[in-house]
Symmetry: C2
Subunit: 692 residues, 2 copies
């Protein structure tokens, strides 16, 4: 059951897709405190209550014991005390005396204090109050998520090639760099499906331009790469460079498509291109106009994009930097008292992404002038929505890869997200693991972290362990910042292990792709905490470093440096598949309970749940090269003689997806032997390995 | 066996206390590469080699997979990618084909790349080359540490009251604040032995002054607190305020006791007092002079000090800030290109603790002018040495509590350290656990972290879990930064659990104190990694979250938020002592192997090793109040009928410590019952609980 409440005068975020009537009942579960300014909701938690949700955020699957702010933030250092990342995912799921979900549907800042100030108090603060709030009641955790996801609509589905391995780096300067990456991957037979173009491909960081010196024949490059089954994925930044003669700038000014300042003039901020205007994505005409600009790249053969800097990040504004200079001027030549020195330091440090700047920006929403500060969390969402809506016009045939840095709920229908500018820290590998189910709850299925870490220098062992996890995430991209150590997989002394891991990924892609599509279409999570499956199992409530994938597989990655193994909890007996140092697969049934597994650096395990199976194909060097008609089955039959599963298979790009067209694989035991058969007559089985 | 090598022209650090002849043999284990500028030592690691050491540093007990720089640094954010903290502890212990230790004895920067750039390469870079290097060879890890510790001499031993619980906060402003803290602890019967005075007790941050307005009768306050068995522990900072009429400043200038700049004038930096000079602690006269200043506080009844800001921290220098202003001037009013903006930002950010400033400072070492940059790592060490040497003159009777932020090996004989300005992060609780054995290896026994975290806001659960660990560390201090949430234990809604935990600590103090003194006198570690005891046990090699304390107890703290238990590895069967929610002690023998223990927030465990016992006393509200003559024995007798242990007990302050005076406790089984007896006839036994 979903109950809807209205507070103040909410802005329509288009986050939900279902009509729900306003409830006449009293607002449940929370003590509600509201005045003109602020809405405070307070809930008393029992000691063992768990609070799930909040999507892209720091800390655990259980969000208790910290506080969070939904305010999309360009946060370069994801340390334990940060309260905001790039997203605003206002969904919480409380497992307590009664289980329920709560969704705060609004574009402004929302704060969550989840047992932080007081151990047993969950407090949500919405300021200003204008919002719709949905309370979702079902007995089972999974059902609450499903009801919520049905409320907000189907998750974005990318083309199949986007499930391949992808290589990125801020620093690829020109055609030569790109060709080198492609060549080295192909030479070493390391599978790859995409190479990314970060900000340097543009002419002076101008959106929808290509630097002709660096890329003399961009179209030919795209074609050549495509022949190798490698797609190029360019970045698009939110800010539009202020430059006479630059058509996007001129059209934007002429048509008033940019956000404005207090005087109604286009707001001036500075990002990579220097001084920029920000397209007014909340203005439907401007959004459409900007979306249609992607055409120039689509026409050159591009099939995927990543939208960046769309919180929006603002390095400085004209006003902000002037204010800083004024403070500096005040102190110049003076004998600085120590707190003056800190003031001086802060004056410069606080110039970027300042609240004052966000308050100084205005949108034109169908004729109404509205402060950006009040709509902040919709900006990246609507940039991505604009692109997606344009693709519906520009590209009738194919799904286009699209994901964003900033997001809020609603955007999940238009694109995926990556989890932003993490670092080469072991704790960020763990954070990546913990974040996946939280993101899935909020509708974001096509997602993953910068594997190996964006900032800082990755080590060989961190890269190996991180990939042992990323081979299971839909978005599997190796990305790094300018100035950090080269981290393309061929840069390491030892590449055998990477070949083995990527081969595993490609074997697994058909299962992952099919599972992904079912998750989107059935409003399901791809990654679940153990407790969502084993809800009667108390111990599983606190397991935060193992996940259930597609209800079939349990993963238990290693995320600690120098570890030679790890503890794993099995809520029931499972088949353990161990990929050993030599790349061989070993099988053993492991009992319910706690187990310690010795796993050297090049080794990993996954588990297949009872009475379930997974299908694999032979590896290939790209998704297009996969032969999905020859399958190998690996499964665990504990007390059944027959198991089946549905497989969704298509060309990988057709927009219309009908899961009714899925075929079925059945595995059956006859005279002590297991056989597989399929409703799809093209499918043959190379091996059927059912353990019991 | 210890081999000593000399490179270049080493500065005498006084780190070692034993004469060792220079070796004529080839430098072992490493490939040595040396030119005039730089000494590089390269060692090839096998896959399972472990590298221990480096004392106060980030990352694990096993230092592999990262790089570290020995260069004492005022580092406020202890994030995973930081390479230096406040100390330079140049001792490594390699467990490989052959086990050996290496000590780089020099005051300049040393860099360690331990499988960071290349997974199997350990590389040490000493630049300039001037150093003594010691190679220590023994077969057993423990013996290498022992040999090293004998080389560097006995570790500092504080007075016994310094093993009590201590409360600190940057922000206690006046007498009233201090009296309130004392009152609240005593009212709630929360044991406490010391309250700290951070920088605000001084008059304008001037060392050895007291603000008369805030502390109208400091001496009376000290007396009143002492009556409550609470000692006050004031901070002493390295920088001396430049102020006419301030005697320390004037004497320092007159006698040329301050570090100088390139022109021979006293160097001007800025720290808390504003513009300061830095005492030249490398100049023996200046060191003695500064040390004798502590007298003014000793005379007022003070018995303990903490030396801070002695890396030295430099917020800015006159030259540095001028340079920053020049850069800012250049950009003022200009249309900032984006990299100009970053340059502008960096110009201010890089003002503090800059290498240029360290290179611009000079010491006068018995008439020789030497660049501070070359002696940097000795500065905090020699500040603390100066105080300690002065205490030998000023205070004949009593041990004085003394510890420092900056340190290098050698200083361990003069004082302890706290592990600097950590944060209220769960990962810093784990770091605290991992750091303890590394510190012990390097001679630092009186040490601990700011419990609850210095920076940031602690939560109730983090404080509970952190204290469950800190009750075992010699220095057990709750400390927090200005502007963070009040974290005195009485500030939390729930204080029962803190009372239970502090009671446990005080029961345990006699055992901890005695063990500490044996560790110092016998060159032993108080905290050992499991593998140091169970060296044939391969699994124990990678256990980094359990420690052996005094060879008797194994601790296994919880350091993850929302955890309701943890995995524990037992290399052999042990007696598990569980302190449950009600504060009751439960006993169970746990088998060798892996176990998962359910431990709710208020619960913790420790283990007693086979054929060992621990003695406890009754709790009290201060160390002075402990009755150490009535003991309760808890032990685990697996296959013996008699066990004994030595106990060192004294008045807690006498300087002369002779462990030959230790008494013996024997426990014996007679007719199925266990009895205890002691060579000290004052001792009686309230309970003898031996499990088997």
């Amino acid at each position: 059951m979903i109950r809807k409440y209205k507070f103040g005068d909410p802005y329509p975020t288009d986050a939900i897709v279902k009509e729900v009537d306003l409830s006449n009942e009293k607002f449940p579960y929370f003590i509600k405190n509201m005045d003109k300014e602020v809405l405070e909701l307070t809930y008393k938690m029992n000691k063992t209550d768990v609070v799930y949700g909040l999507g892209e955020n720091m800390h655990g699957i259980n969000k208790r014991g910290f506080h969070y702010t939904s305010f999309c933030t360009d946060e370069p250092i994801h340390a334990e005390d940060k309260v905001s990342l790039y997203a605003a995912h206002n969904f919480l799921l409380i497992e307590g005396e009664m289980n329920f979900g709560i969704f705060i549907d609004c574009p402004q800042k929302v704060e969550y204090d989840i047992g932080y100030t007081s151990f047993s108090i969950l407090k949500i603060t919405v300021k200003p109050v204008d919002s719709y709030i949905y309370i979702i009641e079902e007995t089972v955790l999974n059902q609450i998520v499903k009801a919520f996801r049905e409320l907000i609509g189907e998750s974005y589905i990318p083309p199949k090639w986007a499930f391949g391995f992808q290589q990125s780096r801020w620093g690829y300067q020109n055609e030569e760099d790109i060709r080198t990456v492609a060549k080295k991957y192909r030479e070493r037979k390391l599978p790859i499906d995409a190479i990314y173009l970060d900000i340097d491909y543009m002419e002076n960081f101008k959106d929808f331009t290509m630097d002709k010196k660096k890329f003399p024949d961009f179209e030919q490059l795209v074609k050549d790469m495509k022949k190798e089954n490698i797609r190029l994925v360019p970045i698009i930044d939110a800010g539009v460079k202020i430059e006479e003669g630059y058509s996007i700038y001129e059209e934007g000014v002429e048509n008033k498509y940019f956000c404005t300042d207090i005087n109604g003039e286009p707001f001036i901020g500075a990002v990579w291109p220097g001084r920029v205007h920000f397209p007014d994505f909340l203005n439907s005409k401007a959004r459409k106009w900007f979306g249609l600009q992607y055409k120039v790249l689509l026409e050159k053969g591009i099939e995927g994009f990543w939208n960046d800097m769309n919180e929006p990040a603002i390095f400085y504004s004209e006003k902000g930097i002037k204010k800083a200079f004024d403070i500096i001027e005040k102190y110049k030549g003076k004998d600085l008292a120590i707190y003056d020195f800190f003031d001086l330091k802060d004056s410069i440090l606080n110039v970027s992404n300042s609240i004052e700047d966000y308050k100084a920006i205005y949108h034109n929403v169908e004729g109404n002038r509205i402060s950006h500060y009040l709509l902040h969390n919709l900006y990246g969402y609507h940039m991505t929505r604009g692109a997606s809506e344009a693709f519906d016009i520009l590209e009738k045939e194919k799904r286009i890869l699209l994901f964003s840095r900033a997001s809020s709920i609603g955007m999940h229908r238009y694109g995926g997200i990556w989890t932003g500018d993490n670092s080469s820290w072991w704790q960020h590998l763990l954070l990546n693991i913990k974040m996946m189910p939280s993101l899935n709850m909020c509708g974001f299925l096509y997602t993953g972290a910068d594997t190996g870490g964006f900032g800082g220098h990755v080590t060989y062992d961190l890269m190996v362990r991180w990939i042992q996890f990323s081979i299971f995430t839909p978005l599997f991209r190796n990305h790094a910042a300018l100035g950090t150590r080269d981290q393309e997989l061929y840069q390491f002394e030892e590449t055998n292990v990477f070949k083995q891991l990527l081969d595993f990924r490609y074997r697994f892609i058909p299962f992952l792709y099919s599972s992904f599509i079912f998750a989107s279409k059935k409003a399901d999570m791809l990654f679940k905490p153990l407790h969502f499956i084993y809800d009667a199992d108390e111990r599983s409530k606190t397991v935060e470093d193992q996940l259930i994938l597609a209800d079939t597989v349990m993963i238990a990655p290693i995320y600690e440096q120098n570890a030679m193994g790890r503890y794993i909890y099995l809520p029931e007996e499972m088949l353990c598949v161990r990929i050993n140092k030599e790349g061989n697969w070993e099988y053993v049934v492991v009992d319910k309970g706690h187990t310690y597994m010795h796993l050297e650096l090049e080794e990993f395990v996954f588990f297949i749940r009872k009475n379930q199976f997974v299908y694999f194909v032979n590896p290939a060097e790209s998704v297009d090269d996969l032969n999905e008609d020859i399958l190998t089955i690996i499964g665990y039959a504990k007390d059944v003689e027959e198991m089946e599963c549905k497989v969704y298979k298509d060309d990988g790009y057709t927009k219309a997806i009908n899961i009714e067209n899925a075929y079925t694989i059945s595995v059956k035991k006859r005279r002590k032997e297991w056989f597989a058969e399929s409703t799809n007559k093209n499918i043959s089985f190379e091996g059927v390995h059912i353990f019991s």
